[in-house]
Symmetry: C2
Subunit: 381 residues, 2 copies
């Protein structure tokens, strides 16, 4: 069950508070949280809630991150959970809280409480199971996102997975990412959900690095109701969950603040997956490379300059680089003329072959644009 309402936290007056309730019969859950050491109050609260693997509901708000707001901010989070619990007749200790928005400002508890009242009424009185209710919830968690992000998977065995996500800036998760809620009606134990969620996020959200900035509020939660009565094979479930997470990840990338290109940095021939991730992430964090992509300039020297800052195993004169299918560098020397590379399409593929092993990984990033600078300099967010 889901609902999204407007309670006045966003100055725009848009939807800004969402509740997702798991009506069972099971209330199993798993979450991954930001690895940022400056954790927001809702993350500190939710880590406690997750300790027993039981979650009845999640309340999420945009319009303020409730981070670096001290004990008063923690009390606001606690009171929000209590309010949800009272209205839905559940335990506050089973209510996750997620917040997103400006860091270092107190949230207005009166507005939050009014929003909880409206959202819980929408769930209990109007029913919160339809597509419209899910879309309202996905819309209410948006900040600088321009569109809601949802994904679903329906298995042949009778169970389903659905998910929603927000995130457009401060988009470089370290362990979890952004705000994501995924639900399933499969029958799974909390430990299985935890294994599945960590397996899926490791190769999806954790491989998104839009702007190199890790949030203080990142939370990905997976709720299982068991309502289908179907118990999936765990590998099948992990594969489906990974696909849902990948779908949401690519939607986040496509809507990243100010982006003009969606860039996939694929590293192959690495001696380990860790090496491949390190190399791809270094390239994804090169402002010079990202600005060149914005200018449709296939400046592969900036790719290799970034590769050279890593500790990965490679021989500088053993590296190949291709951009959108054109092999511009072979064994560390110029190959095809860079003028042959067409970077006009939004999708850009950079393929780096380290010739040092059999492992590989892809990091998804965006270019560095005037709109990114404008959006992050003209408005506080």
């Amino acid at each position: 069950m889901a609902a999204g309402v407007a309670c006045g936290l966003k100055t725009s007056g848009g939807l800004d508070l969402a509740i997702v309730q798991n009506v069972g019969p099971l209330q199993h859950a798993a979450s991954v949280f930001t690895s940022n050491r400056c954790k927001a109050n809702p993350v500190l609260w939710s880590e406690q809630v997750m300790a027993d693997g039981i979650v009845s509901a999640i309340v999420l708000n945009s319009g303020g991150a409730n981070c670096y707001t001290g004990s008063r901010g923690f009390q606001t989070t606690h009171a929000t959970a209590e309010s949800v619990a009272e209205r839905l007749e559940i335990s506050a200790g089973d209510v996750l809280v997620c917040s997103t928005g400006l860091i270092g400002e107190q949230l207005d508890l009166d507005k939050l409480t009014a929003g909880v009242w409206d959202a819980t009424r929408a769930i209990t009185m109007d029913g919160g199971a339809g597509e419209a209710a899910g879309l309202d919830a996905a819309t209410a968690i948006m900040t600088t996102d321009t569109k809601p992000k949802q994904a679903k998977h329906r298995s042949a065995d009778g169970w389903t997975i659905g998910g929603m996500a927000k995130g457009a800036g401060m988009l470089a998760p370290g362990l979890a990412t952004m705000l994501v809620v995924i639900t399933t009606d499969a029958v799974l134990e909390p430990a299985e959900l935890d294994q599945a969620l960590r397996s899926a996020t490791r190769v999806t959200f954790d491989r998104l690095d839009s702007d190199g900035c890790m949030s203080t509020n990142d939370t990905v939660s997976l709720l299982a109701s068991g309502a289908s009565g179907a118990t999936p094979d765990l590998p099948d479930f992990i594969a489906a969950l990974t696909e849902v997470c990948r779908d949401l990840t690519l939607q986040l990338q496509a809507d990243a603040e100010g982006a003009a290109h969606d860039v996939a940095i694929e590293v192959v021939g690495a001696s380990s997956e860790d090496d491949a991730v390190e190399v791809a992430r270094a390239v994804s964090r090169s402002n010079l490379f990202k600005a060149a992509v914005f200018g449709n300039d296939p400046n592969w020297g900036r790719v290799l300059a970034a590769v050279g800052t890593t500790g990965a195993a490679f021989d500088p004169y053993g590296i190949d680089v291709a951009m959108n299918g054109v092999q511009v560098c072979t064994a560390g020397e110029p190959d095809q003329p860079r003028e042959l590379v067409d970077l006009a399409p939004r999708a850009v593929h950079v393929l780096i072959d380290l010739h040092a092993g059999e492992a590989g990984a892809t990091i998804w990033t965006n270019d560095l644009t005037h709109d990114y600078v404008h959006e992050n300099s003209a408005y506080a967010s």
Copy 2:
């Protein structure tokens, strides 16, 4: 002795080749090179030249980095050194070569050779000892720099230090930085020069992180002629050399590509100097923080989100942050209103007190601006 000439490597027709000759009596030298593992051909050559601590001359060109250009590129570097050696009647094995410009393009050896001819004639026929000659050399090594950068120090004991630098983008040295040539007439052994240079660069060029991108060509060289006949106390010399390096560092920061603010990130109360550097560098690499500074937005939440990505010792609720003298965050909670912070001046000072010890460090960086994106997207460099 110095000279700067135009040999056609820059499409603008500007000065693009410089030679600095040490006419002795000593020809002692030390260099620090980029720690980027993708080293340019002139760096690979110059590392060999530096092995014996003896350098007679340095030839530097803009208009091309000669990096990722393979064996043909190395031959170009070698031939350039041979050409200088022949003209100045010195050994090629005592000629450092530095190049800067686009990565992944071959340099035109004919143009380089003609430039060497002109520059060596300027030194041997016209004399290359005046201020005009030094300014020509400092101008010839510029790329996207808008002005030449020079600094000098004259000791009471009769010895002097002079230096020139270039660097405006790919400006985040890992060990050395950019192209810098420093000369002194002090009497010092190569080992003393090496110790002094590493001591000075560690707290000056290595603390500059304008755009997080480490170059493949960074080289800082120090040449000592002994012409003054004065042997300095080494600590005095290191202090003076550090001051010259700091002066050049701040000139590089002030001329960084597209920058609208010069930002000093000062971390105090750290448990170690390494911790202080790690925290300050993390903030200096946050695009969100840098864009906020461009927008004159004192978004201290973005500062703390970056601090939280580090492994430094601190308690998230023990941190203070001040921006341009206004304490916006005390013990991890909002203090003075952010509206009181005036970020209109070009100089911005961010003071972070970790309350975890007695150590400190400052990283110098710049904001992220439309001009930075424009300069690095509209032109290949």
